[in-house]
């Protein structure tokens, strides 16, 4: 760890708060790993109809995001889907 890291380091209290916020969102959503896997497979199936995606590095998780309507955060499903090739789209 360099000297600069010492200054950048977050307080452990804030780290705990941030970790808990994320953890509780997924706890409260009550999504089992099996269910997340099913969602992931369905997403792959749907997107694959239109484009060639990298199924191995596809990553989904439940997180939170700023709400547009009220001042606060709401749960969100975050999906990172790397596209390998757009050729399917061009065929349409």
């Amino acid at each position: 760890m360099g000297l600069m890291d010492l200054f950048k380091k977050k307080n452990s209290g804030d780290v705990a708060k941030d970790r808990l916020k994320l953890l509780l969102v997924s706890d409260r959503a009550n999504c089992s790993p099996e269910m997340m896997e099913m969602i992931k497979n369905d997403i792959i199936e749907v997107i694959s109809k239109y484009m060639d995606i990298d199924t191995d590095s596809l990553n989904i998780q439940i997180t939170e995001t700023e709400s547009d309507s009220n001042n606060g955060t709401v749960p969100a499903l975050y999906a990172n889907i790397p596209i390998k090739d757009m050729k399917h789209r061009q065929q349409r």
Binding site: N11, S12, G13, D14, A16, K17, R19, L20, K21, L23, L24, D27, R28
Partner: protein, 263 residues
């Protein structure tokens, strides 16, 4: 009107029993008739924290099974006439009692007491279900730690789905020196994350260990934890009590030092 309060936490070792003993004693100091029921069957502890372990003849399971009358199993506190303990059974298991039996027992006790406190076991299994079955409101105890807060959140979810009417939070073992350094979550942050009403924060206090050693709850004494528990008891009884400033009391010398260091 009697009120039935379950003291619960999910995680073990965060201070449920200590909170039950001190809030029970605190309410008795306000001249309320109080009964504390230890619902942790197989791992009883409230009796030792209250210093009443030598007086146990009958227990909760004996009452439920009809082996004795309720009055025979109740143990009167050493100091307060209107404070009683119904101890748990040490050599039985949690399935000896059903939620329906607990509700029936509580309904019978409502006539004689202002407050019925239920010390809930850790976990979310049968013992938890028994303890919450007859309760009107819940005190959820947590510490400012990730694991305890996560479990408290789960417990709050379960209490809400069981239609618990009122849920209040006790944040226990707060260390202001660590909060100031940023190495412990603030009480406000904990409330924010759990989204429930705060009824009191209890500072980490070595007097708690001493009082448990002696079997005498410290509520009402001059130490920080004693004050915090007295305030929680008054809030439960319906009084408006301002929250304690948990900052450590400074001596004249350190105050002076503080003055100089600001400039």
């Amino acid at each position: 009107m009697s009120e039935v309060i379950v003291i619960t936490s999910g995680k073990g070792g965060v201070g449920k029993t200590t909170t039950t003993a001190n809030v029970g004693t605190g309410l008795a100091q306000l001249n309320k008739k109080v009964i504390m029921i230890d619902t942790d069957i197989g791992l009883r502890n409230l009796d030792v924290v209250m210093g009443l372990e030598n007086r146990i003849v009958y227990n909760l399971v004996d009452v439920i099974e009809g082996k004795c009358r309720i009055k025979q199993a109740l143990i009167k506190d050493k100091k307060y006439q209107d404070l009683c303990l119904l101890p748990s059974a040490q050599t039985r298991d949690k399935d000896s009692v059903t939620p329906e039996q607990m509700v029936a027992l509580i309904e019978e006790l409502r006539q004689d007491f202002d407050y019925i406190l239920l010390d809930c076991p850790a976990g979310i299994e049968q013992g938890f279900k028994n303890a919450i079955a007859g309760a009107d409101r819940a005190l959820v105890v947590t510490t400012p730690e990730v694991s305890a807060i996560r479990d408290a959140d789960r417990i709050i979810g379960l209490l809400e789905s069981n239609e618990m009417k009122k849920i209040d939070l006790v944040v226990n073992r707060v260390r202001m020196d660590m909060v100031k350094r940023g190495d412990m979550m603030k009480v406000a942050d904990v409330c924010d994350i759990l989204a429930v009403n705060l009824i009191g924060a209890v500072p980490d206090d070595e007097q708690i260990v001493i009082s448990t050693n002696q079997g005498e709850p410290l509520v009402g004494s001059s130490c920080p934890a004693g004050q915090a528990y007295a305030n929680i008891s008054r809030r439960i009884a319906g009084e408006e009590v301002p929250f304690l400033d948990l900052e450590e009391k400074q001596g004249v010398f350190s105050k002076l030092k503080g003055l100089f260091s600001k400039n």
